[in-house]
């Protein structure tokens, strides 16, 4: 299911914990699997459950709790908009509205070209820069419609 390298990495994570607490490596394992496969399918979650010896539903609980895990295929770029309290008070609703209009997709969807996936996520710990969003691994703060346009232009140009 996963490459040998990924399995080795998972085993390194497992080794960090006492043998009877293999399940402690669950979050790291999910991240490794997602990095390799792009998203977490039911099959890979079954595989992880068997590999770590935890009930499959437990894997699903963790995978659905954290917004950084994707249970469906995502586009080349992933935009995660925080909509928690600080961002919401500072206008995340407008940020989302602008993104949806500009990209022509709703939250949770991917642009038809498969380029960009739009996601609403829980607090990313950047309240001081609210409203904010994460593109790939980068944080973008103090968002305005103009800044968002600039960021999207750059993304689209980089693809071209």
């Amino acid at each position: 299911m996963l490459s040998e390298q990924a399995v080795n990495e998972i085993n390194r994570e497992i080794d960090k914990y006492p043998p009877e607490h293999k399940q402690a490596a669950l979050m790291a394992t999910l991240s490794i699997a997602q990095r390799e496969l792009g998203h977490l399918s039911t099959q890979v979650m079954d595989w992880i459950a068997a590999f770590l010896g935890v009930p499959p539903i437990r894997v699903r609980e963790v995978a659905t709790f954290y917004s950084m895990y994707d249970l469906h295929p995502v586009g080349q770029h992933k935009i995660c908009v925080c909509s928690n309290i600080s961002c919401m008070l500072r206008g995340s609703d407008e940020v989302i509205q602008h993104l949806e209009e500009r990209l022509g997709v709703k939250i949770g969807d991917t642009t038809p070209s498969g380029g960009i996936t739009l996601k609403e996520v829980e607090c990313l710990g950047a309240c001081a820069g609210a409203p904010m969003m994460q593109v790939g691994d980068a944080y973008h703060e103090h968002l305005t419609p103009e800044r968002i346009d600039a960021i999207l232009d750059e993304l689209e140009n980089s693809d071209a």
Partner: protein, 787 residues
């Protein structure tokens, strides 16, 4: 002990307890949803908020440990404000559908909303809606009602030992559900219905058939296993609608197995026999009791005068009551015949003379969870006695080492510290090697050497070691497969030897109310309470192997309830006169001459004796349906009509009073003088394989076989032949092939399923099915692919 004060009452409380436990013990009410005394503390509903002196804000009583001098106020303005606030939040997303909710009227949320809710909601936004799920045939879901207390999730994880439900998503998107489209398959899943404090998980078969306040409750005891689970049967206009547990910490705690909970469906099944019937010129004619009884008595008299009393045979279902067993044996013995038995699934009776007064667990049920080592021999304790399985699981969680010597690698909800999985024929050898691995001893039973001729394997040595380490804290349990084993006497002798060596406890877990059967004298070699009856009579298997001319069959379906199903069907077929006292109309094709409608356990008074020797009497909860009558009454009247003395009982209590025994006197198993010699297998290893046989938990008796909800679960394996891939390779058959299974003269056509739990040199063909019944019982099977 720390002293605390709750609402001004001084209490001494054991250190380490939570405030809510102290309050519960003192009878002080604190509202709650997620807290349950048998589950871990989650503290996620926040309903049990109380004020604690010196704490800056209200604290959850379920997660606040007591400290010396603590002052708790459960209904101060601060506490009540917190409780009311929580209630308001819980009701935000809860639908106002109480009028169409099965939980209505017995709903903690509804009750507490009356106490702590506002009369008008301030919430104007849209309520959350959760897509409904199908989690199986037993539990109905309405997940929009869920308040996320996670009791059901914790029950699965902590008690049942299989985490099937989980909470996915987070915050407002959190949902309770199973893993992508799976069902909840635990044999204890019904308890989640009781635990759910709202109407999210409700009883599926009972759904929308009654309101809780219309029901009349009556208490009962479950007859499906040897646990003696305490039940409450709820009826509406004399129809049993549902079954709930009655809390009894010594037996079932507050749990019920699904088998005990849903078997009631059979009481109302379409094939209930409600009028007596006589078989005349090829047809079943409905008749009245007088005619049917006269016909019965004439038939019995005819056999008595033409063939003598020894040509009678009586077989009684192990689910019968103590009183029924007693009257059945009294009737037979007063006719001068000892051919009576209830041990329908036993095949080796050779140590009957040294068997204890009755088969027992060897300790109170509660002790099982404190065992340091448990050895299961021929026992699927998780499915056969689900509530004893829970105790073993508890022991295991406390560090006990559980081991198994079985012919099928059962999946348990506890880890096994050692196991031997071998075909039935090998089991006595394996057990003997465990005995031998403990070293030579003068008190070993004679003949041990013959069984333990080869060196013990590594796992057998480990089992021996772990048992010796645990010493008197070890518990050896012989289960239903051990009792059905053709060398049961050897297994018991060897287990007895292990007990002598280690000081362990020894338990034999027989079927249903078999303990009652033994005590009442419903065995051929002993009268009530072990009375000497001299010669004795034929046991269940011999009665069928040397067919009697007349049979009295009480509550059983010979093809499905007898181990040697083929022999049983043939014997009954060939008999001149067969009386069947049954709650259900026959559909098994086994003929009879007269059908007498008797009542199921909901409609009769009687006593059940569990594996501890604890006798529990019940009264019926509803009157008999139609013309059906309790079996004890029918036997009494037949006794009268046959002019037998002392059949004047007017109540089952009167029968019960004739049986007195010392319940506390644990009678150990006698050491066998000599184990019977091993036989060289008749068919050699050749191309034949040995049949592994058990009765799946929803096939054990006529009641559960008629509970459609239980039949729809995934717990009954398909009636097929199961083999591991190695064996299938040897026989050149593949998964999904149609095969003929031959045993002696008989054969059936079945699907072949690859199942790695089955040891090599054997094939698992479950019993209790019409499809496998023609095959017979234990022995060698030849598998031939259908061409």
């Amino acid at each position: 002990m720390p002293t605390i004060e709750i609402d001004g009452r001084k209490l001494e409380v054991e250190a380490g307890k939570m405030v809510i436990q102290a309050a519960d013990e003192a009878g002080i009410y604190i509202p709650r949803f997620c807290y349950h005394p048998k589950l871990s503390v989650a503290a996620n509903c926040r309903m049990c908020m109380v004020e604690i002196e010196k704490a800056p804000k209200p604290m959850p009583a379920c997660a606040t440990p007591i400290t010396d001098g603590m002052k708790v106020y459960t209904s101060s303005p601060l506490a009540v404000e917190a409780q009311k606030g929580t209630m308001e939040f819980l009701l935000i997303n809860h639908p106002l559908d109480c009028p169409v909710c099965d939980q209505g009227g017995e709903c903690p949320l509804q009750d507490q909303a009356v106490g702590y809710g506002k009369d008008v909601s301030r919430f104007t936004e849209n309520k959350r809606v959760v897509k409904d799920k199908d989690i199986g045939p037993l539990i109905a879901t309405e997940m929009t009602r869920c308040i996320h207390c996670t009791r059901c999730v914790r029950f699965g994880q902590e008690i049942a030992g299989v985490m099937e439900l989980g909470a996915t998503g987070r915050g407002e998107h959190m949902e309770i559900g199973t893993y992508v489209g799976r069902t909840v398959d635990s044999e204890l899943s019904g308890n989640m219905i009781d635990l759910c404090p709202v109407g999210a998980l409700t009883n599926k078969p009972y759904r929308f058939t009654a309101r809780s306040w219309e029901l009349v409750a009556g208490s009962g005891v479950s007859p499906h296993d040897c646990v003696g689970t305490n039940l409450e049967m709820h009826s509406l206009r004399n129809v049993v609608k549902r079954v709930l547990p009655v809390e009894n910490d010594a037996i079932n705690e507050c749990w019920l197995s699904d088998r005990d909970r849903f078997s009631y469906q059979s009481f109302n099944s379409a094939d209930r026999l409600l009028v007596p019937k006589i078989h005349e010129s090829g047809n079943w004619m409905e008749t009245d009791w007088e005619t049917a009884l006269r016909y019965t008595v004439q038939g019995v008299r005819a056999v008595l005068s033409h063939h003598g009393a020894q040509q009678l045979g009586a077989l009684v279902t192990p689910t019968a009551t103590l009183e029924e067993f007693f009257l059945a044996q009294k009737l037979m013995r007063s006719l001068g015949c000892h051919n009576i038995d209830h041990r329908l699934r036993q095949s080796d009776f050779s140590d009957d003379d040294i068997a204890p007064l009755f088969p027992t667990l060897g300790s109170p049920i509660e002790h099982l969870e404190h065992a340091k080592a448990v050895l299961l021999v021929g026992a699927n304790i998780r499915k056969d006695q689900p509530l004893l399985g829970l105790r073993v699981r508890k022991a295991s969680l406390r560090g006990a080492r559980v081991m198994a010597i079985n012919s099928l690698d059962y999946s348990f909800h506890f880890d096994l510290a050692g196991k031997v999985i071998a075909p039935p024929e090998e089991i006595p050898y394996a057990l003997a090697r465990v005995v031998a691995a403990m070293g030579d001893s003068a008190d070993a039973p004679g003949g041990l050497r013959a069984w333990a001729s080869s060196e013990p394997t590594q796992s057998e040595r480990e089992i021996a070691e772990l048992l010796q380490q645990a010493g008197k804290d070890a518990h050896i349990v012989l289960g239903l497969s051990a009792i059905a084993h053709p060398q049961f006497s050897v297994l018991r002798g060897l287990a007895q030897a292990l007990q002598t060596r280690t000081g362990a406890r020894l338990g034999v877990l027989a079927e249903a109310n078999s303990v009652g059967g033994w005590l009442a004298g419903c065995v051929p070699h002993r009268g009530p309470v072990g009375q000497d009856v001299g010669e004795g009579g034929l046991h269940a298997l011999d009665m069928l192997r040397e067919p009697r001319k007349a049979f009295l069959l009480m509550g059983l379906e010979p093809q499905l309830d007898c181990l040697e199903s083929r022999v049983a069907a043939d014997a009954v077929d060939a008999a001149e006169f067969v009386v069947r006292m049954t709650a259900f109309d026959i559909e098994d094709g086994v003929p009879g001459d007269v059908l007498l409608p008797v009542t199921p356990f909901s409609e009769t008074s009687g006593t059940y004796v569990n594996c501890e020797g604890r006798a529990q009497s019940t009264t019926g909860v509803v009157p008999p349906q139609g013309e059906a009558r309790p079996l004890w009454k029918v036997l009494r009247v037949i006794g009268n009509l046959l002019d037998q003395p002392d059949f004047e009982y007017v109540s089952s209590e009167e029968v019960r009073r004739e049986l007195v025994w010392d319940a506390d006197a644990y009678q150990p198993h006698d050491m066998p003088r000599m184990l019977s010699e091993p036989e060289t297998p008749a068919n050699g290893k050749g191309i034949d394989v040995e049949r592994v046989l058990d009765v799946p938990l929803y096939k054990v008796d006529p009641y559960v076989r008629r509970a459609p909800a239980l039949q729809a679960t995934r717990d009954n394996p398909a009636p097929a032949a199961y083999m591991n891939s190695e064996q299938a390779g040897k026989l050149a058959v593949e998964n999904g092939d149609r095969i003929h299974a031959h045993m002696g003269e008989s054969s059936v056509e079945l699907d072949l399923i690859i199942d790695e739990r089955v040891p090599t040199d054997s094939v698992y063909i479950p019993s209790g099915y019409h499809e496998t019944a023609p095959l017979g019982g234990v022995g060698m099977v030849r598998i031939v692919k259908v061409s």
